[in-house]
């Protein structure tokens, strides 16, 4: 019986047949596993969880070595800096008095701004603990997850501007699709001229604002901000600035290159907005 089985077609080709079945399973996962809440997505959360301790330790190590490197540079330059610092202390003392006045003014302005932006949004701070191993796709792994109240599609921002949105949320770590990834698309407008378009990443590591009508007034240096129309990001968050505007051929749209406001490689802390913004009315 065993000899018959070993001589059979199925047994002789078991590796190829198993591999073939796995290929079909991978295709199935590709078409069904990318929907929110799909069953095929769930084991990946376990993997995110399993690797988190390694990534946390590595992130801490990277942070420490970064500090060490800077300390060393400081030592090298310390003599030169000493003279400069003495001069700067005198200047700073004079400036301090002026800044106290400005701070009072700033506090008043901040209070006014808070009052105006009545839509206070709840947010969770998270640490960047890993990056995408494939350089053509731009994602990050952050330390917060479902246990902290994060959900798929939550907006991720930093103090510099928009970072991206969550595409996978594990129990205590999540993956962020960066705005400069070629799969990303974000409704945005030019802060000065209110020209609207879709900001998305390019395969050759750049960022473009697509579908900007050729009659629109967009210029290099203009700030590009979120429109708030996509339901994930509140309006008015800085995405980047226009680096270049060109017009190729007789097309309907301008070719607008955007420089991201956030340096994704240096990013260490992010803020995840756990509350969806109120629907925006769009640029006016």
């Amino acid at each position: 019986m065993a000899r018959t089985l070993r001589g059979s077609f199925l047994w002789r080709n078991r590796v190829l047949l198993t591999g073939g079945a796995m290929l079909l399973l991978a295709i199935n996962i590709f078409f069904t596993g990318n929907r929110p809440g799909a069953r095929a997505e769930k084991p990946s959360f376990g993997l995110l969880w399993a690797l988190r301790p390694f990534q946390n330790s590595a992130a801490e190590f990277a942070s420490d070595s970064h500090g060490f490197f800077h300390d060393y540079l400081d030592l090298v330059n310390v003599r030169q800096q000493n003279d400069e610092l003495k001069r700067e202390v005198a200047e700073l003392e004079a400036e301090h008095t002026r800044l106290v006045e400005l701070e009072v003014e700033n506090r008043h302005l901040a209070n006014l701004l808070e009052l105006r932006e009545a839509l206070a949004m709840s947010a969770v701070a998270a640490r960047v603990i890993g990056v995408d191993p494939v350089s053509i796709s731009h994602t990050l792994i952050i330390s917060g997850g479902g246990d902290s109240g994060l959900r798929r599609d939550d907006a991720v921002i930093s103090t510099d501007g928009v970072v991206g949105k969550l595409i996978a949320v594990g129990p205590d770590s999540s993956r962020v699709l960066l705005i400069d990834d070629h799969n990303s698309g974000l409704d945005a407008f030019d802060q000065r001229s209110r020209a609207r378009g879709i900001v998305s990443g390019e395969l050759d590591a750049g960022m473009k604002m697509k579908y900007v009508d050729r009659t629109e007034d967009v210029r290099p240096g203009d700030a590009i901000v979120t429109s708030g129309m996509d339901g994930n990001f509140p309006g008015g968050l800085l995405i980047g600035t226009i680096a270049q505007v060109s017009q190729e051929g007789p097309g309907l749209f301008l070719n607008v290159t955007v420089r991201p406001a956030v340096d994704f490689r240096e990013l260490e802390q992010v803020l995840v907005l756990t509350q969806k913004p109120a629907p925006a009315a769009g640029p006016s």
Partner: protein, 168 residues
């Protein structure tokens, strides 16, 4: 069981390195695809049905940390495993040169998969823009592949793992 333990540990280490090393060093596309090399090593030296399952599992694990589409790495790593398996069977060899060749092919397959998944293959121009990054990654992966094959061979021997290689 020992095969599963060895390659699970190697995959965890490879993924931990791949996701954290670029934060210390600005490697960009020069970061080698260690998990792909491991899957090809399975195809060259561990020719069993369970190894095919493991290659798929390793691909799925890589998918969990990379790209926006689940399933691409799982597909490519299983396919790379099968190519390595078929080549080593028909060439009656499990030499590192075959592995290096499959690493390069596999890296380009991942690039094609990523591009097709995200753009639906709208224009060849977009893919051409990706080629330098894919090429560099293929090159560095191919360069480190023989060392990884040697390390895995030594580790397999150390834990007394019988290697189901071809009729050499």
């Amino acid at each position: 069981m020992r095969l599963f333990a060895l390659f699970s540990l190697a995959t965890v280490v490879a993924l931990a390195l791949e996701t954290t090393l670029p934060r210390w060093l600005p490697l960009g596309p020069l970061m080698p695809d260690l998990v792909l090399v491991l899957a090809i090593d399975l195809g060259l030296r561990h020719q069993q049905a369970t190894a095919a399952l493991m290659a798929f599992g390793m691909g799925y694990a890589a998918d969990s940390f990379s790209g926006a589409h689940l399933g691409i790495e799982a597909f490519v790593l299983t396919l790379a495993f099968l190519i390595a398996y078929a080549l080593s069977r028909y060439l009656i060899s499990s030499s590192a040169a075959i592995g290096v060749l499959v690493v390069v092919i596999g890296e380009f397959m991942i690039g094609v998969g990523q591009y097709a998944a995200s753009s639906g293959w709208n224009s060849a121009g977009g893919f051409v823009a990706m080629l330098p990054a894919i090429g560099w990654r293929a090159l560095t992966s191919a360069l480190v592949a023989p060392s990884i094959f040697a390390v895995m061979e030594g580790a397999a021997r150390m834990i007394g793992l019988r290697q189901h290689a071809v009729r050499e």
